[in-house]
Amino acid sequence: MSNLIFSVMTQSLTFLPLSLAISISYSILRATDMTLDGSFVLGAGVFARLITQGCSPPLAGIIALFSGASCGMMVSLIQRGGKVDPLLAGILAYFILVSANLAVMGKPNINLLSQTTLLSSAFSISELTGWSVVACYSIAICIVTCLAINSRFGLILRGLGDNPALLQRLGKNIETYRLAGFAFTNLLSAASGCLTAQTVGYADIGMGFGMTLTGIGAIILGQQILRFFIKKSAPRIVFEFTACLIGVFIYFLAINGLLRLDINPVYLKMVLGMILILFLRTAVNPNLSRNVT
């Protein structure tokens, strides 16, 4: 049992910053940002490339985060002025990123197994130490995110997602805030990619595929389950964060658990889907509107 929980926790820890990014993008900014898949890979790729070129791990990490932020700024600029639909802008930015990631990495896969990374010394002591450091990074990222969303900046982002026209009438430059919002979410995605690359030992051009959809599924699952148990409304960021945690944990618990039940991985996703449908049909109150906390 402890092995199962440990496996679930370790997978959840590296996925958590990405799930927060998806949550902010989907619930707060009200935009399904497909760029997050690409910035996940970019964060991993930039970090890996810099490490193999001899850059110091902390600097490589910072540059990786900024590269993710710049992806977000790119997608915001594509959408600027409402000329391109947000979903389409994300898809177009993703196409650009597919090529950009390959150009940055130089090759589709960069091996990090024998490189000095932010985590290598901790993992060389013991696996528990290594994962404790991962947990520290992940939790630190989450705390910073919570503080940011709880601040005036976060309030304005929430206003932007809710009623951009009104926000503009109130004198706020919505394009600037949109730029900052997308930069922030993609920075989180890059952070997740960076952490993941160090824990799996490589950065791969295909490692981001399907991450956004997985994250959205996990977050909605977490939100629905949380609403079942919490009838009163909770502070927004507490709700969002907890929903992310629950959703991500349940998703990885389901995958790992079903594997341990010896369900053939070929059918695993079908079984997982059926279990989640059953869960949601009994947990969800259809009177609750979508995406409202």
Partner: protein, 324 residues
């Protein structure tokens, strides 16, 4: 009781069952990690399983887990195999191997068809990995093509964005120059891109060539059709694609990769440390020929057979009616 609570309780019971699963019998457990669904993977697995059964004369439990190109699923599979103390883990491909090396430290790993070097292996502490490499030297391939078609000057090399392929592409292009062949490389990251790439091949293309590239191989019928329309040869690097419609290929039997892996695995089961075993390279090359496809491409099969004889390669005739 509310249905939701009922379902939660059922799930908790199931989770408890997972935790309390009785240990399987004491026979060795081997986990093979297949990164995606593909005929080549099946042949590797078949070669491994059959050979191990013959070499290691005791019962062995072999589990084949398909990660379906999902990194999260692949990681969960590897973690499960580690946590359930599998005797050995056998990842196929570079990505699966790298992930296994990152997660598994105590169990031996036999890596099949991955691009890992001796240096990478030596860096491991403790060293727990044995390797089977399946790359064919680009020099041998270009040399062979040149021997079959000495007058060819322009070849289109179509490849995907897969990790293994990139360095091979660059190497192939530079080897081509040595033989006076201009190799134009065209990347298709997805199957739809493959269709449009094939439709816009340069006019002067005299042959289409693909490496051991799962994505491109899965679109072989598109390439075969294009080659047939232009009356140029479609040359590949694996047996499966020749069965599916390519003219000919210089490659290795996928099954041989599994066989080589099984030999390493049996040594490990008999007590030898994984690191003490030399890296197995696939040396026996075979020329696979599809007569029907060559006929459609208006190519002469004799040229290929003569070149194969010159280099001492085995010849095997395959066609689309005969699947391994």
């Amino acid at each position: 009781m509310k249905p939701f609570i009922k379902h939660c309780i059922i799930l908790l019971i199931l989770t408890g069952l997972m935790a309390c699963q009785p240990e399987k019998s004491s026979q060795p457990k081997i986990g093979i990690i297949v990164p995606l669904e593909h005929t080549a993977m099946k042949e590797i697995v078949a070669g491994f399983s059959e050979t191990l059964t013959n070499l290691y004369h005791q019962p062995v439990y072999i589990k084949v887990a398909n990660a379906q190109s999902d990194n999260n699923l692949q990681r969960a599979i590897i973690q499960q195999m580690r946590d359930e103390n599998y005797t050995m883990i056998v990842p196929i491909g570079t990505g699966a191997t790298e992930m296994s090396l990152a997660i598994v430290h105590n169990q031996p790993i036999v890596s099949l068809a991955a691009k890992l070097s001796e240096h990478d292996r030596e860096q491991r502490n403790p060293c727990n990995v044995a390797l089977v490499r399946d790359e064919i030297s680009s020099k041998k391939i270009i040399e062979f093509i040149h021997a079959v078609y000495p007058t060819i000057k322009n070849i289109a090399l179509i490849h995907s964005a897969a990790d293994k392929v990139f360095p091979e592409v660059n190497e192939t292009i530079s080897i081509g120059k040595q033989y006076g062949i201009t190799i134009t490389h065209i990347m298709a990251a997805t199957l739809p891109e493959l269709t449009s790439s094939v439709q816009s091949l340069p006019r002067e293309t005299q042959a289409i060539f693909i490496l051991k590239d799962s994505l491109i191989v899965s679109g072989i019928s598109t390439l075969a059709k294009a080659a047939s329309e232009r009356h140029i040869p479609l040359i590949t690097s694996d047996q499966g694609s020749v069965q599916d419609g390519a003219g000919f290929a210089l490659g290795v039997h996928e099954k041989e990769i599994g066989v080589a892996g099984a030999k390493l695995a049996s040594e490990i089961l008999l007590g030898k440390p994984a690191c003490a075993l030399p890296i197995a390279e696939m040396k026996t090359l075979t020329v696979f020929i599809n007569k029907k496809a060559l006929f459609g491409e208006t190519q002469n099969e004799k040229l290929i057979s003569d070149a194969a004889a010159k280099f001492g390669y085995k010849i095997e005739f395959t066609d689309s009616t005969k699947k391994v």
